[in-house]
């Protein structure tokens, strides 16, 4: 029983419940709707909600818990001898069973025990699917029958339906909080496991980053060092290059658009600048790697400079272009929010437009501009695809933008892409990096928003 099929059945059942409830309410009132407490369709909604909500919850819970429970049963049925192995061995066996069940290629030869387990896996999944379908059908029909039985002209259907709807609305707004809690919990929990293996001091202040874990103990570079300073420096270096591009260009174009541009130009240029924010970052990454990096390298050779083809400069330049609209649109807003009286006062004293901007408007708008810069920096720090495609992989502690550096986001991606087990320090390190990233961007955002809000209040 596929998910879509069961969902379809559930929807048909719910819609059926609606019509049953509506016709029942009319019948119970002898065909005159005015004798009912609520309008007939509310009785329809009443039955539909009774049927739809429990079945939908069951379907969701079943889908989520089906695979873990089936795997637990299969695992407990494996022969004793196979259960004795260490957890890594166990997960390998389970992987084989899963692959065999879905008809994929398995890693080793198939022992009869594994084959039997795979057969059991398939049959359990089938049984579970069927059971899910039957259970939902039974509960749905029972709920419809129960709710339909409750209908009579004095039932306050509208009030009950509205109360349920209100609950749904509240649950939906709580999801936003749950997301944050989910992010914090998953990052903190996995990072805690990481810090059991590597001390936080070493992680935050170490100068050596080489996250490979050893296959053999005598391997070269098998030590696995987790000092994240090179990553932080690399991230800051690329963000700095990006802000060197986006800061002046964004701010100057915001000033031009707010103070100089005729409304026609403004109307045309503003959406064009917004295009820069709408282009997927993977496109920028491709552009940086394909066009900008080779161009810079060739120019470097021409000037006698040794520019790496994965230089921080290339990634930073392109990232800077990407964040121009973040700087310009917010700066534009805050410049526009400066009261006209300040400008007029300055003009009245004989100042030119540019003098007014430099001596009056910019100082007045400074907090807002700082806020927009901070938001742009937080965007640059968290940006992933451009650096994954255009920056380097090797941790390199340097402040020279012509060399290749790596960033926090690049390392998260390289550590987590591909198959991974969840108990090695290597994969857990990605979550610790994620935690740092989350905290830093959150702080930047909160401060920036507080600054901007305070500034807005000043002139309101």
């Amino acid at each position: 029983m596929s998910f879509t099929f069961v969902l379809g059945a559930l929807i048909i059942l719910t819609v059926g419940g609606f019509y049953l409830g509506r016709s029942r309410s009319l019948a119970s009132a002898g065909g005159t709707a005015s004798r009912l407490h609520s309008r007939p369709h509310y009785y329809g909604y009443f039955v539909a909600l009774w049927c739809g909500i429990p079945t939908l919850l069951i379907l969701g819970a079943w889908t989520v818990f089906q695979t873990p429970i089936v795997e637990m049963i299969v695992q407990s049925n494996l022969p004793e001898r196979m259960l004795e192995g260490d957890p890594a061995q166990m997960s390998l066996i389970m992987n084989d069973i899963r692959n065999l069940a879905s008809g994929n290629i398995t890693s080793g030869e198939i022992t009869p025990a594994v084959q039997a387990a795979a057969d059991q896996y398939v049959s359990l999944l089938q049984t579970s699917g069927l059971a899910k379908f039957v259970l939902i059908l039974v509960i749905g029909i029972a709920a419809i029958a129960y709710a339909r039985g409750k209908i009579d002209p004095s039932l306050r259907a509208r009030n009950q339906v509205e109360k349920t709807m209100m609950t749904i609305l509240i649950v939906c707004s709580v999801i936003a909080i749950l997301t944050t809690i989910g992010i914090v919990m998953s990052l903190v929990f996995e990072s805690y496991r990481f810090f059991e293996k590597v001390s936080p001091v070493e992680f935050l202040f170490g100068l050596e980053w080489s996250p490979q874990t050893a296959l053999r103990s005598d391997q070269v570079g098998a030590s696995g060092a987790f000092g994240a300073i090179p990553l932080f420096v690399g991230t800051l270096l690329i963000s700095f290059v990006a802000m060197c591009v986006a800061g002046p260009i964004g701010l100057l174009s915001a000033i031009y658009m707010a103070e100089y541009a005729p409304s026609k130009v403004r109307g045309a240029v503003k959406p064009l600048l917004e295009i820069l924010a709408g282009i997927p970052t993977v496109v920028y990454g491709f552009f940086a790697a394909l066009t900008v990096a080779p161009f810079l390298r060739d120019q470097g050779t021409f000037l006698g400079l040794d520019i790496s083809s994965e230089s921080a400069l290339a990634a930073g330049l392109v990232m800077g272009i990407m964040i121009i609209p973040f700087v310009s649109s917010l700066s534009d807003d805050v410049i526009n929010a400066v009261p006209q009286s300040l400008r007029e006062g300055s003009y009245g004293l004989g100042a030119t437009k540019s003098e007014t901007i430099k001596r009056v408007i910019l100082p007045a708008a400074l907090p807002g501009i700082v806020g927009s810069f901070m938001l742009a920096i937080s965007r640059a720090i968290g940006e992933t695809m451009i650096v994954v495609m255009a920056a380097g992989l090797g941790a390199n502690l340097t402040a020279n933008p012509l060399e290749a550096v790596t960033t926090v986001t690049v390392q998260i991606v390289t550590l987590l892409v591909g198959d991974q087990e969840f108990d090695s320090a290597k994969t857990l390190a990605a979550f610790a990096l994620g935690l740092v990233l989350f905290c830093v961007t959150l702080c930047l955002n909160i401060i920036a928003m507080a600054v901007v809000n305070k500034y807005r209040e000043q002139y309101d």
Binding site: V283, G382, T384, G434
Partner: protein, 444 residues
């Protein structure tokens, strides 16, 4: 000091005039400089806007110029004899015999027949390398779909391998040293001969729109990724739109102004600024490791992207709800509607265009998102077109990333072409949002 000034012949009036003259002289002298500074400052602004615009032009020009060649594909027209003794020597027309027959040999023999003087094994192999490995597959498809063709000679247009396609388009040429390219001089000569005979054609690359990913550039297409994107977007829309609108309605219309709603509000604003990769970590830790949902599936991808677009939709929906004037609510309340009826019958329909605009913009963002999907394993090499939301799949931007990473030179054009397709979708969605706003925008 004062005595000295007083003994001077100047009266105070004269002094004032004198000072004014000196000052206005200074002003006049500095005016030229100030106007120059003014003009300079203005030029900086125009320059900044110009640089940004120039970048957009360069970006689009680069993508389009490098992507256009991918929409054509060179093909060789050959008269292939579908020999009975090669395909189905026993004449059973059994489906598995037809599928497993040696079509490679058929195709290769036909090409070799064009050059009777090529005899050595090595040369033969070099010559047949001109044809794509998809050529045999194409013949297989033809025969299995219509077995009555066996024994006849059919004229087929067979795709050439990616390197020769590049040679035909002039990307690879004789200018580079033979050791630096993957097409030898001998192969180039053969290809030129085929060209002289007029059987090499450049045709529309339909494979690009009908295939999923492949290791062979000439067989790689974007349909698989596009389907994956579609499925992922459906999941995202199905989750984020109702949840986002419900949350916005509650916060804007019903929520009491207390600490909890304040926390929710701050929280939503902060979520909007969390780096997308962190949502990927959440998806990996919670959906995949904790709940055991399948990796690489549009279901999980859609859920992660839904959480990511939720703040965008909530913020846009709240703005749209706020724009509906209170008089509408009061009128409905005055006629005896309940608060829920006011919202569902009046406020929500009036706010719908604004909500839709916000949703489309949020979906466009989600469509271009790559980083969180890398975390949940949607970066796998997948040759099948996904059929459901739990099948392994990849999406357009991830496909771009995968191809951009490939060392094969022919993938550069395909990457750009995939970007063009992606950008077309995005431009279309944004245009739709602008149109909606223009058509339904109401000033109260």
């Amino acid at each position: 000091m004062t005595d000295a000034v007083m003994t001077d012949v100047q009266t105070p009036d004269q002094m004032r005039r004198d000072r004014a003259a000196r000052a206005s002289d200074a002003v006049r002298r500095s005016l030229k400089k100030r106007y120059a500074a003014e003009a300079r400052f203005r030029a900086y602004g125009i320059g900044a806007v110009g640089i940004a615009m120039a970048f957009i032009v360069v970006l689009f020009a680069t993508i389009i110029s490098s992507g256009l060649p991918a929409f054509t594909q060179s093909a060789i027209t050959l008269n292939v004899e579908l020999k009975q003794d090669v395909i189905d020597p026993e004449g059973t027309r059994d489906q598995s015999t037809l599928i497993n027959a040696n079509y490679r040999k058929l195709v290769f023999d036909t090409l070799l027949a064009e050059f009777p003087d090529v005899t050595s094994r090595r040369d033969k192999r070099a010559l047949t390398a001109i044809l794509s490995s998809g050529a045999a597959f194409q013949v297989q498809q033809l025969v299995t779909s219509d077995p009555s063709l066996i024994g006849q000679t059919v004229e087929l247009s067979l795709p050439v391998a990616a390197d020769f396609d590049l040679y035909n388009k002039g990307v690879i040429n004789k200018g580079t040293a033979e050791s630096d390219r993957r097409v030898s001089n001998q192969q180039m000569a053969w290809f030129d001969t085929l060209k002289e005979r007029g059987i090499v054609e450049s045709e529309l690359n339909t494979t690009f729109f009908t295939n999923a990913d492949s290791r062979e550039p000439e067989l790689a297409g974007i349909l698989g990724a596009a389907m994956g994107s579609l499925l992922t977007m459906l999941v995202t829309l199905a989750l984020s739109f109702p949840i986002g609108v419900c949350a916005a309605v509650y916060l804007e219309e019903f929520a009491p102004k207390n600490r909890l709603t304040q926390i929710i509000e701050v929280n939503i604003n902060n979520l909007a600024a969390v780096p997308s990769i962190v949502f990927g970590l959440l998806g990996l830790a919670v959906f995949i490791n904790f709940f055991g949902l399948p990796r690489s599936a549009p279901l999980v991808g859609g859920m992660v992207l839904a959480l990511m677009t939720l703040p965008t939709i909530i913020i846009a929906s709240r703005a749209a709800l706020k724009a509906v004037p209170p008089s509408i609510r009061e009128a409905a309340l005055g006629l005896g509607a309940s608060r829920m009826q006011v919202v569902t019958h009046h406020v929500l329909p009036l706010a719908m265009p604004g909500i839709m605009t916000g949703t489309i913009i949020g979906m466009a963002q989600a469509l271009g998102e790559t980083a969180p999907l890398l975390m949940i394993g949607m970066v796998a090499f997948i040759v099948d077109i996904p059929g459901g939301i739990t099948d392994p799949a990849t999406v357009l931007p991830v496909q771009v990333y995968l191809w951009a990473d490939s060392p094969e030179r022919a993938f550069v054009a395909r990457t750009s072409a995939a970007i063009m397709v992606l950008l077309t979708f995005l431009i279309f969605m944004n245009a739709l949002a602008v149109l909606l706003r223009k058509k339904f925008e109401r000033r109260w």
